[in-house]
């Protein structure tokens, strides 16, 4: 019997495209023959905006890239600026930065696992994930007064020191999370239906994954040991003991399991950071709610003026964000504003692998594979 191919426009308004993403699917019945990704619905010209702001002013804009892990964006940009201008950072500030980065990684993976399960139809996991995320957001709130868009990490350090009572709360969270992750594994990982939906689905060879420029946990699910924290150590990561979580199955389940493993690993890092945190000088112990934006040196920030001119030159600096390699390429012409900013965002590169991944699969598999790639549209379109 002759049948026609069906063209389905999935998105930009669709429950499981995680924002405004559009898939143009050519379907043969339920089978996807061709998948074309249409993006750009959330394009805000962040890179161009960067050319019109001073170095310091651009930090809040980075919050809005990948709003699930804004600390990582903050840090990636600030790290590039620091390398460009040659700014020294107090050790305590570096430890606080790593603390926020790893906490942010846990938050990001909680949301990812929750929304993946929601995409598969299991509505409970996202509630559990958000319950724990809420605790982490309360910690962020304590730290910098914001829950999602922080503007906390600035060139020269962090904006203010940890408030009193932060570390005990953090320890509480870490101990709580240990049990919770076991709970998640009990609810999700061993579920027969879940495994049936994930194992052997969205398979892609490691070479293909590298060719498409995939990075981060999504790549590590393909058996590639690629982690910038180890490869090009930055901040205090060389002093910390952690292992890179890699799974070899190359399918959706492997990509999911890497996230679970990474949450455990992040907790391990957090414990070390708490133990090794250098003491603050008593005089500069900042109180919660007061933002010392004067540029004066504190325990967590070197003296640094708000407007400064790095020497002419260019820098590409990258970090291991929760979603993958996040890089900032900044060109300076010796003025107070950058000449050019280019963001290499993990979501964008990971997303491009989807068409190859889902060819010959069905719509439910597309959604499962897409969920394991962990994409935030603010990061894709910039």
């Amino acid at each position: 019997m002759k049948t026609d191919e069906l063209l389905i426009n999935m998105g930009p308004v669709h429950p499981s495209t995680h924002g405004v993403l559009r898939f143009k699917l050519t379907m043969d019945g339920e089978i996807i023959r061709n998948c074309e990704i249409v993006m750009g619905y959330l394009h805000r010209g962040t890179e161009k905006l960067g050319e019109m702001k001073t170095y310091m002013q651009f930090v809040p804009y980075t919050d809005r890239l990948d709003y699930m892990s804004a600390f990582a964006n903050n840090y990636a940009y600030v790290k590039a600026v620091e390398e460009l201008a040659g700014i020294e950072v107090p050790l305590r500030a570096e430890y606080i930065r790593v603390l926020t980065l790893e906490l942010n990684r846990i938050v990001n993976h909680l949301v990812m696992i929750g929304s993946l399960l929601l995409d598969l139809g299991a509505s409970t996991m996202i509630m559990y994930g958000f319950r724990e995320r809420e605790n982490a957001l309360a910690l962020f709130d304590m730290l910098c007064g914001a829950r999602m868009t922080f503007n906390y990490i600035k060139p020269g350090g962090v904006r203010e020191d940890m408030p009193e009572g932060f570390i005990p709360k953090l320890n509480e969270f870490i101990n709580d999370m240990d049990k919770r992750i076991d709970d998640y594994e009990q609810l999700v990982s061993g579920n027969e239906i879940f495994m049936g939906r994930m194992k052997g689905i969205g398979v892609m060879s490691a070479q293909d994954a590298i060719n498409y420029g995939m990075t981060g946990p999504s790549l590590r699910g393909h058996g590639v040991n690629y982690d910038i924290r180890k490869l090009e150590p930055y901040s205090v990561y060389p002093d910390l003991d952690f292992k890179v979580c890699v799974r070899n199955e190359c399918d959706s389940f492997a990509r999911y399991m890497v996230r679970i493993d990474e949450m455990r690993e992040s907790l391990h890092i957090l414990r070390q950071v708490v133990d090794a945190m250098p003491p603050a000088k008593p005089a500069s112990q900042a109180k919660y709610g007061i933002a010392p934006m004067t540029g004066a040196p504190t325990a967590v920030s070197t003296y640094f003026p708000r407007i400064f001119t790095p020497p002419p030159g260019e820098v590409y600096s990258r970090i291991e964000a929760p979603k993958g390699e996040l890089g900032f390429y900044i060109v300076s012409d010796g003025t107070i504003k950058p000449y050019r900013i280019k963001i290499r965002s993990p979501s964008f590169c990971n997303l491009t692998a989807i068409p190859k991944m889902v060819e010959g699969l069905m719509i439910p598999d597309l959604i499962a594979a897409f969920g394991t790639i962990d994409v935030v549209l603010g990061d894709v379109d910039r």
């Binding site: 429950p15 499981s16 598969l120 139809g121 409970t124 609810l187 239906i193 049936g196 939906r197 439910p364």
Partner: protein, 380 residues
């Protein structure tokens, strides 16, 4: 007096009609009324009025049940997901379904420009009617049945197989690709799951030798060794599991909610529906949930029967048995709700594989073994 008469006498009624006539008779108003109608030569009108009264009671019961179920679903989800659920409207949010109804009625009723207007309008009602028709041969309690059909079980399966037609109409007439895919999935799913459903129900019929739901329930009266109730779940454990899985597929709930599959097909076959028409689909879904659970209870969990129920005075048996029936039904419903919010959805081809390659062979095997054991007389 009425109760005394029923207390002493061992009175059973074939259905609710006879129960009503008996009560009217007892109060002493049946004969006078009947005489009036007789002199006019229209005594069949009285029969019709009584039947209508029964239907009205059933309809009110069904609608109240559906409203309660929507509230219960939210509360069960909330329990599973560590939150409160509706709390604002009414005590513990009990009036939430009313507010939902008001909201849905107030919504604009949109018919897409390129939809098939007639079919599009007709489909929600065609979904809702079978969902109510299923209630007719359901034994809610002793004597509490609208009509004890000789082909009760066949009727139940046949009527519940009607709803995919309406779903297909809805999906096709919406002129929306998601709706169409949802409808196609619903039909594929229903065809593959009605078969194991019917096959595992036939194994029950082998025991009772009758398709009547009342006969099936009375066959489960009594106990083995004085404490194990003679429910068919103990004779047919495999049949029960197959029937339960197929029932959940029939209800169209996660893990088998392919007609909707929100994350894939937006809302499946009712993507384009809004307002009261959407509410009709919603209500039909919950009517289905109740009726399918009631069928599970009737076939496998002893219906309204309970060990030593016959020791109670005959006057209270209909009420007690109604309570027993509802408790069992709500237990099955709770299980379905619990399941819905714990597991992910299976994929459509996995579902069809499960249906055709595992459940149908198992159901046939179950039927074969049951027939064989009955023939050699193990169960006598």
């Amino acid at each position: 007096m009425l109760f005394l008469a029923m207390w002493t006498g061992d009175i059973m009624f074939a259905n609710a009609y006879e129960l009503i006539v008996f009560i009217l008779n007892f109060i002493g108003i049946y004969e006078p009324i009947n005489n009036i109608f007789k002199t006019l030569g229209i005594e069949y009108i009285l029969r019709i009025i009584i039947v209508f009264a029964e239907i009205a009671v059933l309809l009110v019961f069904a609608l109240l049940t559906i409203m309660f179920l929507t509230w219960m679903e939210r509360k069960v989800v909330a329990m599973v997901q560590a939150r409160y659920g509706p709390m604002v409207t009414g005590p513990r949010g009990l009036l939430q379904p009313v507010m939902d109804g008001v909201k849905l009625i107030g919504k604009e009723d949109i018919i897409p420009a390129k939809a098939d207007r007639w079919v599009f309008t007709l489909a929600p009602f065609l979904v809702f009617i079978p969902a109510l028709l299923i209630f007719i041969p359901l034994p809610f309690g002793e004597s509490l049945i609208i009509s004890d059909l000789k082909v009760g079980l066949l009727y139940l399966i046949a009527i519940s197989a009607l709803s995919p037609i309406a779903i297909l109409l809805a999906g096709w007439s919406s002129n929306n690709k998601y709706s169409l895919m949802g409808a196609m999935r619903a039909v594929a799913q229903d065809i593959s799951y009605t078969i194991p459903l019917a096959l595992s129900a036939i194994a029950i019929v082998l025991f009772t030798g009758s398709l009547s739901t009342v006969d099936i329930v009375t066959a489960q009266n009594g106990t083995w060794f004085g404490f194990i109730p003679k429910w068919f779940i103990f004779l047919q454990p495999l049949g029960f599991i197959l029937f339960l899985i197929a029932s959940i597929a029939e209800m169209g709930r996660i893990p088998f909610d392919f007609q909707e599959s929100e994350q894939e097909l937006v809302a499946g076959f009712f993507t384009e529906y809004s307002g009261i028409k959407f509410a009709m689909f919603f209500l039909a879904e919950y009517a289905h949930l109740f009726s399918v659970s009631a069928i599970v209870v009737t076939l496998f969990l002893g219906g309204w029967s309970f060990p030593y129920l016959s020791l109670l005075p005959a006057a209270v048996v209909p009420l007690i048995s109604l309570g027993v029936f509802l408790v069992k039904t709500y237990a099955v419903i709770f299980f379905a709700m619990w399941l819905r919010h714990t597991v992910p959805r299976v994929r459509i081809d996995q579902l069809l594989n499960l249906g055709w390659k595992i459940m149908i062979p198992l159901a046939l095997l179950n039927l074969l073994v049951t027939g064989f054991l009955l023939t050699i007389g193990v169960f006598q």
